[in-house]
Amino acid sequence: MAEVRLVGLRKSFGRTEVIHGIDLRVEDGEFVVFVGPSGCGKSTLLRLISGLEEATSGEIWIGGREVSQVPPAKRGVSMVFQSYALYPHMNVYRNIAFGLSLAGASRADLDARVRAVAEKLQIAELLERRPRELSGGQRQRVAIARAIVREPQVFLFDEPLSNLDAGLRADTRVEIARMHDELRATMIYVTHDQVEAMTLADRMVLLNDGRVEQVGPPAELYRQPRNLFVAGFLGSPRMNLLEVQSGEGGLLLPGGGSIAHSGELPRGQLTLGLRSEDLHPTSGEGVLRGEVTLVEELGETRLVHLRIGDGQSVIFRHRELPGPRPGDRIALDADPERALLFDGNGERL
């Protein structure tokens, strides 16, 4: 088992730099998820760690060894690809065994290990099949088996679930979490799906345009985003962001409401962030008032869109029955402790 440390890592393709100096430490046995919008450099960063791409500068440490000039197979990492990348001409057994046989494992040892892994992933009866005779979920298991069998120090996953349908994706997610518990190996997992990221991660690394925006446990990123990008990226529906004026002793909200604020605040225009679940209907005055424009029924709860004037609107999560109807006028209270404030540069105050 091993920790992974990145120091000042940069990567350019030709003249374009796509990774702009990343420093990161992944603890031994930790499950870290890289998230971020498409094209932000998640895969590239993972491929730098695997050795499939070579960094332009910086250091990569795996288990106390600087590996940036070590060939991929000797870094003690294995990788699960988005397309599974099984060898089409080999059956499942040989797919799993290929790496071991190249490493010169003895026949008996190889056979025992392949069968043990196949057993663990419940693919023992598929060993003779070719990849094209497997379902998507089965292929995924074979790919994972191929990664496990080499007993790497670090597992790398590049969007391993994005080719599966929704039901299977949820199941496999649980299974990967269980696998992590069992193996206690260091895992780095790339996804653009925040649900996957939040559910799996010990810590999340949110990337944007080749830079780290924030690192931390999912709840921390969700509750205490460092800036507007993080706040806006995580959470569905997106966090409500309102233009507010800070004044004497509080914040002036659109529609005339105000929130008291005790701390020191810069004067002028700020951005207030409120999550949909932190807004509650009230029979009193409330801090926000407006007209319901749309109700999205989710079953247990519903998302209500409220126009609050100044051309701004908010979405809040409504729990009680019966739900409001378009045209209703509603007042909302906000949890002051949960409210987030961002300055003109988008940094949280």
Binding site: S50, L52, P72, A73, K74, V77, S78, M79, F81, Q82, S83, A85, L86, Y87, P88, H89, F98, G99, L102, A103, R146, R150
Partner: protein, 275 residues
């Protein structure tokens, strides 16, 4: 009425074309089975079935040996071009390096060389290596035809293989040679069959080098042997024997081409269209 006339005209056109395409070979078969003086009369339908011409080409000259020579040369050429072509295609198709497209272009340029332009230089080389009148001179010189298209076709197929499979193998610890032999070779099998067949046909049919570098009847390949068949005497027409020899070497080729029809057509058009 119009529709019927059109359908008839179309069928007639197809029939005419079929006769045009197939008649010459049919006539060769017909001629090859004419014995004695029957050769002097023109026939449209078979009148006799006489295999004496076939017997003669094998008894009066080393035609069996010529066939063996052709087979040996063709197989060696196929094996060598596939080996060299596959390794080159790996570099050209899977690795990015400077000068790659220039190299591909240069390879294409070689396929445009007129054969005579290298004839005198090649002749010198063949003699310098002591290969004159040896089949090896042919194996070696045919590379100028087979390598360029082998490289082009294999490179274009190689490029289409998914990157992740190669990367998975790299992560599994495969070096370049393992990649080529254990991953790409099995995946490129169809392309190898196609290019191998094309190389086989080229080597089987080549004439100028075979005519120039081989001196003795026993070392000759089939095309030259056929071109040099003459009658036993001034007054004997050699055509029966020539046609028998022609049919003998063409039938297997036609069979091969028909069996691998789809593959061959795909390879031919891939080479030309992508080139």
């Amino acid at each position: 009425m119009m529709a019927l006339a059109r359908a008839l005209a179309f069928r007639l056109l197809v029939a005419v074309l079929l006769v045009y395409l197939l008649f010459p070979f049919y006539y060769a078969v017909l001629t090859s089975m004419k014995g004695g003086s029957a050769i002097f009369s023109v026939d449209y339908w078979p009148r006799q079935i006489d295999f004496s011409n076939y017997a003669r080409i094998f008894s009066e000259q080393p035609f069996a040996l010529n066939i063996l020579n052709s087979v040996l040369v063709a197989f060696a050429v196929v094996a060598l071009s596939l080996l060299l072509g596959l390794t080159a295609a790996f570099s050209l198709g899977r690795i990015r390096f400077r000068g790659r497209s220039a190299l591909l272009f240069a390879v294409l340029a070689v396929s445009m060389f007129p054969q005579v332009a290298v004839l005198s230089g090649m002749f010198e080389l063949v003699r310098a290596f002591g290969l004159f009148n040896s089949l090896l001179s042919l194996v070696f010189s045919y590379m100028i035809f087979t390598l360029p298209f082998t490289i082009w076709v294999l490179t274009s197929f190689m490029r289409e293989l998914p990157r992740e499979i190669e990367e998975a193998a790299i992560m599994d610890g495969a070096g370049p040679w393992t990649l080529i032999v254990r991953i790409f070779l099995p995946l490129l099998w169809p392309a190898m069959v196609t290019t191998g067949l094309l190389a086989f046909i080229v080597a089987w049919n080549e004439f100028l080098f075979a005519l120039t570098f081989i001196l003795s009847n026993e070392q000759r390949t089939v095309p030259v042997a056929i071109a040099l068949i003459t009658g036993g005497s001034e007054f004997e027409l050699p055509w029966g024997g020539i046609m028998a020899a022609s049919v003998t070497v063409t039938l297997p080729l036609i069979a091969l081409v028909l069996v691998f029809q789809r593959r061959l057509v795909a390879g031919l058009t891939a080479g030309a269209v992508k080139g």
